[in-house]
């Protein structure tokens, strides 16, 4: 009888161990599956974060280049005004007019005509239209046979280079 009890106890203990082992195995497998899933999600998160960092770095580099270019372009836009101011400081237009009004007139008209064309070009227009007839002729102001308003309509002139000094 004792043997039977002993066998039952041993079977019970072994059954408990077997059940425990089975339970341990199942919970471990479930934990492994959860961890595997979490790991996959973390890998995706890491990849996303890395892509975000790379994207931000590229954006930062792009904006740094654009900013650098913008500063250079903004500075370049100051050039004409600075140059003109410097030129006007250097010249005495009153004395120039008293000395030789016709030459000064030619320079002014040439510079003005070039300025309009530069502004047209700056705004994306076609600045290749010829200078007005009265400026191309080399005869300044009082000897011209047309006025500037008439030249506005007559832009089909030959396109010859101006005779006037447009340097100043």
């Amino acid at each position: 009888m004792l043997k039977v009890y002993a066998i039952l106890i041993i079977v019970g203990v072994l059954g408990t161990f077997a059940y425990g082992a089975k339970y341990y195995y199942n919970t471990t497998q479930a934990t492994i599956a959860t961890l595997r899933e979490n790991n996959a999600q973390l890998e995706v998160a890491v990849q996303t974060a890395q892509a975000s960092v790379e994207s931000l770095q590229q954006d930062m580099q792009k904006f740094a280049e654009l900013n650098s270019q913008l500063q250079a372009d903004l500075q370049a836009a100051e050039a004409y005004g600075d140059e003109l101011q410097s030129k006007l400081n250097r010249l005495d237009l009153v004395q120039d007019a008293l000395r030789d009004a016709e030459t000064l007139e030619g320079k002014m008209n040439g510079a003005t005509a070039n300025l309009w064309r530069d502004i047209i070009k700056d705004t994306g227009g076609d600045a290749s239209r010829p200078l007005p007839q009265w400026l191309q002729s080399g005869e300044q102001a009082r000897t011209g046979d047309t006025d500037s308003n008439q030249d506005r309509e007559n832009t089909s002139a030959s396109g010859e280079s101006p005779q006037t000094n447009t340097a100043e």
């Binding site: 995706v44 913008l70 007139e105 008209n109 705004t123 227009g125 009082r142």
Partner: protein
């Protein structure tokens, strides 16, 4: 992001300047009347002419700088060959 088109370019007319000093004033008046019929004109002192030129230069600076800023924003919002947005990355990896 859509980029709107630029405004149409400026269309500027030529302007003729007459420079006259005292010794040539009478000749100028007679020839001006002969050319234009009437004696009516706008006169500027040299100082005012300089100010007008400087004002135009200042406007030109403003236009050009405004244009450069527009170009900056156009480039900034424009497509980038290496650019990959975060949302695109998530979609690709999931």
């Amino acid at each position: 992001m859509p980029v709107v088109s630029r405004p149409k370019p400026t269309q500027l007319n030529d302007v003729r300047v007459h420079v006259v000093n005292q010794s040539e004033l009478e000749d100028f008046v007679s020839e001006f009347k002969e050319q234009y019929g009437e004696l009516a004109f706008v006169a500027l002192s040299m100082k005012d002419y300089e100010n007008l030129a400087l004002n135009i230069a200042e406007l030109r600076r403003y236009i050009n700088q405004q244009t450069e800023i527009i170009v900056y924003y156009e480039d900034a919002v424009g497509p980038n060959a290496n650019d990959t947005t975060v949302s695109e990355t998530v979609l690709d990896t999931e």
